[in-house]
């Protein structure tokens, strides 16, 4: 679980930063100053990074046993600029809280 959470957090940050680059810098550059270089490069990369984000979120949700609704909300949160960082904080909170709650006990021996 810890590794899955780390994978999710890393890719969530990468995707969040790429999205902010795209929306805050790239799109004004393209539509205001007619310079689409950032949109073309970061936009393309963001799409593929978002796939990795989806996989990491799916993996984490399955391991943590989330309901479908929460999984979909976490996946969608990755598409909203700035909100993705908040979502990452919330997810880390949920997962670490659950982990301390249910520490498995050895059965035999």
């Amino acid at each position: 679980m810890g590794a899955a959470l780390t994978r999710y957090r890393v890719i969530a940050w990468i995707v969040g930063v790429a999205l902010i680059l795209l929306v805050v810098i790239g799109m004004p550059m393209k539509y205001g100053f007619d310079n689409p270089i950032l949109v073309e490069t970061v936009g393309q990369a963001h799409g593929f990074l978002y796939m990795v984000y989806l996989l990491a979120a799916f993996d984490l949700s399955r391991r943590a046993g989330w309901p479908l609704k929460r999984m979909v909300l976490v996946m969608l949160a990755g598409t909203v600029p700035f909100v993705s960082f908040y979502a990452e904080r919330r997810v880390s909170g949920w997962v670490t809280a659950e982990q301390t709650e249910r520490t498995p006990e050895p059965v035999a021996g």
Binding site: E40, G43, Q44, G47, F48, M51, L54, F58, R62, L68, M71, P104, E105, P106, V107, A108, G109
Partner: protein
Amino acid sequence: MAPNHPAGYDTASEIPAAPGTLVAMKRLWTPAWIARHVALVVLVSVFLGLGWWQLSRAADGNSISWGYAVEWPIFAGFVVFVWWREVRHALRPPADAAEEAPAAAGTRAADAPAADATRPVVRRPVRAARVTAPADAGGDADLAAYNHYLQWLNDNPGAKPGDYPG
């Protein structure tokens, strides 16, 4: 009470709510599930439509659209994948039957305190003590290894096969 069946109706062949039967499929026809099926169809057709749109843009000379034309069908496929996982999850037989054996083993092996007796025992076998079985003197090495594995499983009732040290 058994429903009125015509004479000669083979009730024994009827498996209630087993996966793969129509009875089990009814579980996928609740309002929540219908919403999921609709979401599947809508999302997949929208994503494929967007992919087709990007493909036409790419064909018109917008070379960056080739990337998006690849990305959208993958997203559509991912929606199908998640939907399929949920369907499989819903059609799994109820966990009660499978849970009973480990729970019983858990109460037997680690005698729970009185306070825990009222709580349902949800224990997962994590790592069992490794009891080494005596090596078989027989000639077949594979058979000996398999017997060793079986012996180990027998000695460690709560253990998962993945924990086998040998």
